[in-house]
Amino acid sequence: MTVESTAARKTTRRSSGTKRTASASPSTTKKTSTRAAAGATEPELVQLLTPEGERVQHPDYDIDLSAEELRGLYRDMVLTRRFDSEATSLQRQGELGLWASLLGQEAAQIGSGRALRDDDYVFPTYREHGVAWCRGVDPTNLLGMFRGVNNGGWDPNSNNFHLYTIVLGSQTLHATGYAMGIAKDGADSAVLAYFGDGASSQGDVNESFVFSAVYNAPVVFFCQNNQWAISEPIEKQTRVPLYQRARGFGFPGVRVDGNDVLACLAVTRSALERARRGEGPTLIEAFTYRMAAHTTSDDPTRYRRDAEREAWEAKDPILRLRAYLENEGHADAAFFEELEAESEALGKQVREVVRAMPVPEHMAMFDNVYADGHALVDEERAQFAAYQASFADGEAE
């Protein structure tokens, strides 16, 4: 399945999808009233590009991008989706043990990721494949942990992109501490910390709000509210829109259309600038949707309705930017064709690299447990080596 074909398929669905949005609402209302209330707060959502691809103005946020920059954002989102779908396929083929798809969250990740400067630092969850792309992390590096050949496996300082963190919310404290360090250094860079609606309930996330507020740390919290924490809907996490929590901690919160790459870029850029000016943290809630399962091990049909997903298909982040590019004449057919080819090449490259990923040497499990060494690790390494060697002797005989 190619991205362009996905896009084409979704284009045909879009008009009917819009209708479904309306018809989907009553069923959502039936489920819980809180969910309907969340919908009612939509006027507070910062949007610069409608689901139909129309540019709209917002009094507080604006962005002026060249056609080339717009095409760049589109390219980022398409390639990220292509990479993601390739990874899903690789999991289905048994090449990866697990994959956590970002499908549907491309705008939130590319918009926020492209707001960063090189000297800024990112603390991701385990789903920020699009942000990793923006930071220049080799996408195949992200697959090592999902293939089971390492537990991270890239140098965080090469791209100022920390390792994926699987324990929910832990990284928001690391981000805050890192930002405190930036302030101590007198530098003017900033930190972008990612987490989700589920992790918003974690103590660590709330503690990171407290610490960052108290120390006025240059950190921006980017919460992708994709509506689902595996099977638990957002109303199991909160009784108020998440961005409103920031106020209680003493810093601003803003909800942005997480499927609008322009709005995500504008809002994140503004929050990062604010952090650089020494004005402290901001909480951004990117209102989006997890189109795929939580991971490849998950089965969303057990807990959510197709209608809900279909309603969100009409808000697809890639389709709306494509509509805008086409309507404004910012991209021609050749651009889309070239991108299709580039996207296929990326898929092929990812496939090849993953399949060729070497299984680590047995002894590697003892490596880097400590920086300064540890007598027990040394002893057990030697014992294990001797045990391994005992088989080699047997074979030789």
Binding site: N150, N151, G152, G153, W154, D155, P156, N157, H162, L163, T165, V167, S170, T172, L173, H174, A175, T176, G177, Y178, A179, M180, G181, I182, K184, D185, G203, D204, E207, S208, V210, F211, V214, D367, N368, V369, Y370, A371, D372, H374, A375, L376, V377
Partner: protein, 326 residues
């Protein structure tokens, strides 16, 4: 003045002062470590001399303290964190175990997280609940962490220096009931290795191995045993992860008997690991099974009962007698 006699608490204070003076990346952080100087005054006067940026009073959230310390370490700092009491470390346990301990290995050696976590531990001070615990095994069990505990002012000073200089995370357990015990400190001496055990008293009939607060108890037990004509050697382990088994093995091969003493509950305590390894290493030398003296498998009791719960002189001597009776 290079050689001075001072309490263990003051030696720790001197050590932190030296670290702050010599390494601009050292940051002391925790609850009440600033103006108050910490509830045990270990950081007394440091904020006044080094400022609020170096000696940081933090919000009251242990996970937040350790989690932000990890972030600071990733930025190139060397945070020295104070957890106010042993029983309060658990909100930070997740950060310590899932993040701090594993981060170097996860990055394939690309990053280091040189965080020192100081924890006053152990009982014997008549405190309320959660202020007297000995959770060292819960940290020693975790690969990626180092766990040490000094028993003397000199070790307190030097081991803290070495812990701060280490590129690994170190859990630094301070024997709070020995904070006020005085000893000699030579700040110009050449210190021993951080993870090497120390023979605190030589003997020939039996080895007592202990660490932190129980070293003094064991030395008193050895003195009492000497009056009865028994020659007891005392080994101060100093480091619980890693453990210097070579020094301990050499002692047990000489005395042929070993009693392990710690305040922590015996069940799954460090004594279990020591007994297993020494049995493996010294099987043909042992005249008696390795015996253990420690806390019971019950929550740390109310203060009025702690003397019964903690291994005291008599319980240590009882174990010495039982071992010698084999």
């Amino acid at each position: 003045m290079a050689v001075q006699k001072l309490p263990l608490a003051k030696a720790l204070n001197e050590s932190l002062r030296t670290a702050l003076e010599t390494d601009p990346k050292v940051v002391v952080m925790g609850l009440d470590v600033g103006k108050l100087g910490g509830v045990f005054r270990i950081t007394d006067g440091l904020q006044k001399d080094f400022g609020e940026d170096r000696v940081v009073d933090t919000p009251l959230a242990e996970s937040g303290i350790v989690g932000t310390a990890i972030g600071l370490a990733l930025r190139g700092y060397r945070p020295v964190v104070e957890i106010q009491f042993d029983g309060f470390v658990f909100p930070a346990y997740d950060q310590i175990v899932t993040q701090l301990a594993k981060m170097r290995a996860r990055s394939l050696g690309a990053v280091k997280v040189p965080v020192v976590i100081r924890i006053p531990y152990g009982g014997g001070i008549g405190a309320v609940e959660h202020h007297s615990e000995s959770p060292e095994s819960l940290f020693a069990h975790v690969a990626g962490l180092k766990v040490v505990t000094p028993a003397t002012p000199s070790d307190a000073y030097w081991m803290l220096q070495q812990a701060i200089q280490s590129d690994d995370p170190v859990i630094f357990f301070e024997p709070k009931r020995r904070y006020w015990d005085k000893g000699e400190l030579d700040t110009e001496a050449i210190p021993g290795e951080l993870h090497k055990a120390r023979v605190a008293r030589e003997g020939t009939d039996l080895t007592l191995v202990a660490y932190g607060p129980m070293v003094k108890t064991c030395l008193e037990a050895a003195a009492a045993a000497a009056e009865e004509g028994k020659s007891v050697e005392v080994v101060d382990l100093r480091s619980i992860s890693p453990i210097d088994f070579d020094t301990l093995q050499a002692s047990v091969e000489k005395t042929r008997r070993l009693v392990v003493v710690h305040e922590a509950p015996v069940f799954f305590g460090s004594g279990a690991e020591i007994a297993a390894r020494i049995t493996e290493r010294c099987f043909y030398h042992l005249e008696a099974p390795v015996l253990r003296v420690g806390g019971y498998h019950a929550p740390y009791p109310p203060a009025r009962l702690e003397e019964e719960y903690l291994p005291g002189l008599d319980r240590v001597l009882d174990a010495v007698d039982r071992s010698l009776a084999y």
